[in-house]
Symmetry: C2
Subunit: 70 residues, 2 copies
């Protein structure tokens, strides 16, 4: 299976947000994520980088969300 | 290997843009793509959707690019 793990970049550190993500849909400044198990999350942010061979999705919070806890 | 193919959505049809994409980096309204063979492309557009289990990256051109040929 070729899903990836999604990480949030926080103060230059990556925090695991969701494992085994299948679908990623950016929309209106938000990112909708869905895992192979049907887990769903939406965060206010953007995709910083994908490394598919390494199974990594790196997300960045929207500026106004950076100080909020997830 | 878990790279994906990148498609451009054009008039509701998907056109293959690059095969076996490893890295995807959105930046300043552009998307930088790099394949496992080191092929590189940058397009003015955005990520519409990722389906990693299906190895699919769907991109949309920026509105002002939609009538230009690739």
């Amino acid at each position: 299976m070729c899903e990836a793990n999604a990480y949030i970049l926080k103060e230059d550190k990556e925090e695991l947000l969701m494992e085994r993500v299948d679908r990623v849909v950016p929309q209106n400044g938000e990112i909708y994520l869905e895992s192979i198990w049907g887990q769903r999350k939406t965060i206010a942010g953007r995709i910083k980088e994908l490394n598919l061979v390494d199974h990594r999705i790196v997300l960045e919070l929207a500026p106004e969300e950076k100080t909020a806890s997830l």
